[in-house]
């Protein structure tokens, strides 16, 4: 035997490895977002396309900027692109493009890189970006442009090409279902909520398409189904109790489930593994907490929507949840 030529490796077991790696997981999430992304293009035309593009560019540019000095390229793990896409989908369709870019920059820069990069951040980066924009540009962030008909794909909103520091052009706006509920006590038809022809952020209008993506991710085992399920159950129960106490004043629980950003938030944001608990019990606690907070903010807070703050708040509690829900070790009490 020609043992001399043979170069044998000395590494240690295991020598079998599941093929699915982290970039694969990121790709799966992006694929799951495609239906909602296409719907955004359908409902909001070229505006949606530009916002998504610019937001992703902002995120990837910042990732590149931060990792350049370390000599590593982390762009190919796909997490920056995903953050950019997620951010775009929670922005209003008529947002000025420079703000979308800035949102991408803040998401990665402040939401992720200053914590040490992928895996070390406490808050969901896309939501950090959104929270920043919300605080800095409250008007632009609550200017809900109406859905445009398909034959006007190239119709640009006046606001889209807005320039920094100039007065915002007046926009044609409309109210979101949640705002109508909150301020006018007016319900939106269920099938509109479900299919998406309502005003709202780019990607959060059609519950059906987001759910589809969610089911895909559960089947591919890239998200923990316990988190969205816990959120939905807790919202349903809490909103149900309120509705039962005073049906005239509080919206029915199904409305809450399908209106606003909760679908996108519950399925794509809260399930971000980095910022959710690492124990199964903890995931239940985390989800229940989010659901409760969303209803609390929507019903009793000053804002029509509370998904973003609910998730960010529970993100902050994640380390604590991890500590108190440590799993029992085999063979111990």
């Amino acid at each position: 035997m020609k043992s001399g030529e043979l170069k044998l490796l000395l590494t240690s077991s295991p020598f079998l490895k599941q093929e699915e790696d982290t970039p694969y997981i990121m790709r799966q999430v992006i694929i799951a977002l495609l239906p909602a992304t296409l719907a955004a293009l359908y409902f909001f035309g070229i505006n949606a396309f530009l916002v998504i593009l610019v937001s992703i560019l902002g995120a990837m540019f910042t990732e590149w900027l931060f990792t350049r000095s370390k000599g590593v390229n982390t762009l190919h793990d796909g997490s920056a692109a995903l953050t950019g896409l997620l951010l775009a989908l929670v922005l209003p369709p008529g947002i000025p493009l420079w703000m979308a870019f800035l949102g991408g920059v803040v998401s990665i820069g402040i939401g992720k890189m200053i914590f040490g990069g992928l895996g070390s951040n406490i808050f969901n980066p896309a939501l950090v970006g959104r929270a920043f924009l919300q605080a800095a540009f409250p008007v632009a962030m609550t200017t809900w442009s109406p859905v445009i008909p398909m034959n006007q794909f190239f119709h640009l909103y006046h606001t889209t090409l807005g320039i920094p520091f100039l007065k915002m052009p007046t926009a044609v706006t409309t109210a979101t279902p949640l705002a109508r509920m909150k301020f006018d006590a007016q319900l939106t038809a269920f099938h509109d909520l479900f299919l998406g022809s309502t005003a709202g952020s780019l990607g959060e209008t059609s519950s059906l398409l987001i759910l589809l993506g969610g089911i895909y991710m559960v089947l591919k085992k890239v998200i923990n189904w316990r988190i969205p399920l816990a959120i939905f159950i807790s919202m349903y129960v809490f909103a149900g109790i309120l509705h039962w106490i005073n049906p005239g004043h509080y919206a029915p629980p199904t409305f809450h489930l399908f209106a606003g950003g909760i679908m996108l938030g519950a399925i794509f944001m809260a399930t971000d593994p980095v910022t959710s608990p690492v124990t199964q019990k903890g995931c239940w606690v985390f989800g229940i907490g989010i659901g409760f907070l969303v209803i609390l903010i929507r019903t009793f807070g000053g804002l029509p929507e509370g998904v973003m703050y609910a998730i960010l708040l529970m993100n902050a509690f994640t380390p604590l949840i991890n500590r108190v829900t440590r799993e029992r070790v085999y063979g111990t009490e």
Partner: protein
């Protein structure tokens, strides 16, 4: 075929489902490998004290003759696998990577290689103690890989009582099929071995756990089971690491072995089916442990096979018999892919605990880029003893070994499930091994000093 064979729900919690690759060899009958020119028998092939040679260079030895005595209670005898001459007793490459004192035997090319003293042993009237001594002098150790002396394992400590014998026919490591073939071809040895082990342990009931990827073995064992032998064949779901004592006990009896305790603490003794069959062989023919079944497999070998190999055969001889390696072979393991140990010298001998030779190519051993932990929880869901490998991995990286104790690192059995599933390719179990070794060292030092 019994429908139940395919519908078992018995298993343990967590664990992983790697592809098993057993199709390479599972239908290949056991082949007897022809005798080689030379054999190398390390005095240390088991856990515990090395054996003590009773022969010297130049001595003529027969196949099955004692060549080294047990070096203490936790030690076993060693026998010559061939008729020939002791060539030397010297340091030789050992599968552990160290140099170990070994007896080298040159085969007598003209010998018919019959067994030294073939005879059936009347065991019915022997006492437990006598049976245990025969097993120790027969050189028996756990053939599943751990190589722990069998007579020690079968000795129930003072004040404890065994209630069940669980025979491990799980073979959960991918690629390996030696236990599978053994059950199909040597079932009489298995049944006699179970009888004797039950006698020694004084238990009423035995279980034989077999995973459902071996339906033919499940069926055959059920069919051939002697009516007076109270042994239940338990089909188990296919899952890694079901062959671990803790997992098998949970799967069969639905009971957890407490952390830091042994199966006997819940009245259970677990033994590998290969070891049990070896005991059967000993009492049927008087044959000590001088050969074993080895699965030679993997994409890197020309002709995968299940071989009956004399203990002490050099790795290179086995590879050559199987048609040699393919050009792109990069790694050769003793054992399975999950817990096996890599070999770098081709002259290392097959030992008592060598269940397989796995040859992997470029493709399987490709280096994968490591990403940061994204806390995806896959490792947590995989760990059969419910540890949090993600957290432990982070602590290990920061060298906070003390803090790992608090996260029960010492309960880790190094099964590799966490590393297997980690999408960020973090070498979790590799880090845990280092941490455990350091912690053990530290604790030993602390004991010494105070």
């Amino acid at each position: 075929m019994n429908l139940l064979t395919f519908t078992s729900t018995k298993t343990f919690r967590h664990g992983i489902h790697p592809r098993d690759y057993k199709e390479l060899t599972k239908d290949k009958p056991i082949e007897r490998m022809p005798f080689s020119n030379e054999y190398v028998l390390p005095l240390s092939q088991h856990l515990g004290a090395p054996s003590v040679p009773v022969v010297k260079p130049g001595d003529k030895v027969f196949r099955g003759q004692l060549i080294a005595e047990p070096g203490g209670f936790v030690s076993v005898a060693l026998h010559s696998p061939v008729t020939g001459k002791v060539k030397a007793i010297e340091l030789h490459h050992h599968p552990s990577g160290k140099m170990v004192e070994s007896i080298v035997i040159q085969t007598d090319p003209f010998s018919p290689q019959t067994l030294y003293h073939e005879h059936e042993i009347e065991w019915q009237d022997l006492t437990t103690q006598e049976l245990l001594i025969m097993i120790q002098n027969g050189g028996f150790v756990g053939l599943g890989g751990a190589a722990f002396p069998t007579h020690v394992k079968l000795s129930v400590p003072e004040g404890k009582k065994a209630q069940f014998l669980i025979v491990n026919g799980v073979e959960c490591e991918p690629y390996l099929t030696s236990d599978h073939r053994l059950m199909l071809e040597n079932y009489e040895n298995v049944f006699l071995g179970i009888r004797i082990a039950m006698r020694i342990l004084d238990v009423e009931k035995a279980y034989l756990g077999i995973e459902m990827n071996k339906p033919d073995a499940i069926e055959l064992m059920r069919e051939k089971m002697p009516p007076d032998l109270n042994c239940e064949v338990v089909p188990l779901q296919v899952k890694y690491p079901q062959g671990a004592e803790k997992m098998l006990t949970e799967a069969v009896l639905n009971k957890e072995i407490p952390s830091g305790k042994l199966p006997i603490d819940i009245h259970v003794i677990v033994n590998n089916v290969g070891t049990i069959a070896g005991i059967g062989q000993l009492f049927r023919f008087g044959q000590p442990l001088i050969e074993r079944i080895v699965t030679v497999t993997g994409p890197g070998i020309q002709r995968p096979a299940n071989l009956m190999v004399p203990i002490g055969t050099r790795l290179e001889d086995v590879l050559e018999y199987c048609g040699g390696l393919k050009d792109n072979t990069r790694q050769i393991l003793f054992g399975g892919p999950m817990m096996g140990s890599p070999q770098v010298f081709l002259d290392v001998p097959i030992m008592k605990g060598t269940s397989g030779i796995l040859c992997l190519t470029d493709y399987e051993v490709k280096v994968r880029e490591e990403y940061p932990c994204i806390r995806c929880l896959r490792c947590v869901d995989a760990c059969p003893v419910y540890l949090n490998p993600s957290r432990l991995g982070a602590l290990a990286k920061k060298r906070q070994y003390e803090a790992m104790l608090d996260y029960h690192i010492l309960d880790c059995m190094e099964c590799g499930s966490c590393s297997y599933v980690c999408p960020s390719n973090i070498p979790l179990v590799q880090r845990f091994r280092v941490a455990k070794a350091l912690l053990r060292e530290q604790m030993a030092k602390q004991k010494q000093t105070g």
